[in-house]
């Protein structure tokens, strides 16, 4: 047996055995103990490295990104102007809405009306630190430093204040793996804010930061600059979390559906801290009215011929 450890062939056989044991453990969902031990060793070192690198980045990063930042400032200024106009309009609508509700003695019974994220942000101040990113460009996962011990569970949505990041797919004692929105296996039920048309947002993977929204109804269901939110259908994500903004609409005469290319509201390649939504009320799809596509112009009723 000792010879096995001393020879190169022995080591190769041992390593291959470990690979196949790992494949079996991952397939049967029993990889947790191995990864708990791994992250137990790696996580403290990773935390130190990240803190140290942040210092270096702050020192040198500024010089490299001056031009990029100038362009971003200009772009952000334009967006801020638009946002100010929008916020004024939204405020007006809120006042109008509130008055109408009062007039109709409308009682708000559904506590889920508000963004669930707001509640979660209040309840969970502990931000999860992103420990590592997937070494492969083909799959898009991150590892965070919160796990079972912090009440993180598989399926929980992960967000930043800017919007949706992804969802937890694997949990260890003090770590969790998060599937990002831009992975090809990610799929989120979504709604176009302006038209209420629903579709499915999927990742394009292979290093692309952009998302694609599929199965949108033909017609004017979506246009450029539209905001895309989670629809809540299926219960995996709460309603009205921001996913991103439409940058291109694809629609051909032969297609059954419209597709939209979406830029995520969160920069998924530069994540440092995220929030895990540990508590939200899933949408009850049995009571939820079926979302419809953009209201099409009412067709003129055919003239009735009097008998």
């Amino acid at each position: 047996m000792l010879d096995l450890f001393r020879s190169r062939t022995g080591f190769i056989l041992i390593l291959l055995a470990l690979v196949f044991i790992g494949i079996a453990l991952r397939a049967t969902g029993n990889m947790g103990l191995v990864q708990d031990a791994t992250f137990g060793v790696f996580a403290p070192v990773q935390t130190i490295l990240i803190d140290a690198s942040n210092g270096v980045t702050n020192l040198f990063g500024g010089f490299q990104e001056v031009n990029e930042l100038r362009a971003q400032v200009k772009q952000l200024q334009e967006r801020l102007n638009t946002a100010v106009i929008d916020s004024v309009r939204v405020r007006e609508l809120e006042i109008e809405n509130s008055e109408l509700r009062a007039q109709l003695e409308y009682k708000q019974e559904n506590p889920d009306y508000l963004l669930s994220g707001a509640t979660v942000l209040q309840e969970n101040d502990n931000r999860a630190r992103v420990l590592s990113q997937d070494p492969s460009a083909l799959v898009n996962y991150i590892t965070i430093d919160q796990g079972r011990a912090e009440n993180v569970a598989v399926g929980m949505p992960v967000i930043t204040p800017a919007g949706l990041v992804g969802r937890v797919t694997e949990v260890g004692e003090h770590w969790a793996r998060v599937l990002l929105l831009n992975d090809t296996t990610s799929s989120v039920n979504a709604v176009v804010q302006s038209t209420r048309a629903t579709g499915v947002v999927q990742g394009q993977g292979q290093g692309s930061e952009l998302l694609i929204m599929r199965y949108l109804p033909l017609g004017d269901s979506v246009k450029e600059d539209d905001l895309i939110l989670t629809s809540g259908i299926g219960g995996a994500f709460p309603k009205r979390l921001v996913i991103g903004q439409v940058i291109q609409v694809r629609q051909r005469d032969t297609d059954l559906f419209t597709e939209a290319i979406i830029r995520p509201s969160v920069d998924l390649s530069r994540l440092e801290f995220v929030l895990v939504m540990k508590k939200f009320t899933p949408t009850d799809i049995t009571t939820e009215p079926t979302p419809t596509a953009a209201p099409s112009p009412t067709p003129t009723p055919a003239a009735t011929i009097a008998p």
């Binding site: 190169r8 080591f11 790992g22 191995v34 690198s53 590592s132």
Partner: protein, 165 residues
């Protein structure tokens, strides 16, 4: 080279590749440090060690990856084995050998992994992936290889007299 030296080295490389590089180089195009070290060690040292480094380093990367387990270990092990073979067949002091090897190895590594993932049901946009990720990464790896190769040659001079693994 003793496993007591190799494993901490691979541990550090794994940390750099999964933790530090994404901070400094966000986006899909990043140097494949583990691949460069495995290929470089195969060309510099050979003797079947690069295959071992590839398997062990790949195992560590697999622990950090959401991809099917074994994808990195088996692909890096296979590439390490090929790099070991090159050392016995080519004149290793020629710098063109590691440069050409890492360029081809990067293409094989990424395209091989994509092919395996497609067989497992993943959707791969081949044209986008090859032109936006694989080729830029291959060029980046090739550009950085002389630096890695220089370090590995120095390491080889240190460890060669008391080779145990």
């Amino acid at each position: 080279m003793s496993p007591y030296l190799v494993l901490p080295l691979l541990f550090v490389i794994t940390l750099i590749q999964t933790t530090l590089l994404p901070i400094f180089l966000p986006g899909p195009v990043r140097p494949d440090l583990m691949l460069m070290v495995v290929v470089g060690w195969g060309v510099v040292h050979g003797e079947g060690q690069a295959a071992l480094w590839g398997l062990a380093g790949g195992l560590m990367l697999d622990l950090f990856s959401g991809a099917p387990f074994g994808l990195h270990a088996l692909s890096l092990g296979a590439i390490g084995w090929v790099a070991d073979t090159l050392q016995t067949n080519f004149f290793r002091s020629n710098l063109l050998v590691p440069l050409a090897t890492i360029f081809i190895a990067t293409l094989l590594y990424h395209i091989g992994q994509a092919a395996v993932l497609q067989l497992l049901g993943y959707t791969i946009n081949w044209a986008f992936y090859i032109f936006n990720v694989v080729l830029p990464t291959a060029i980046l790896n090739t550009a950085l290889m002389p630096f890695v190769y220089w370090i590995l040659r120095r390491l080889d001079r240190v460890v060669r007299p008391r080779l145990t693994w």
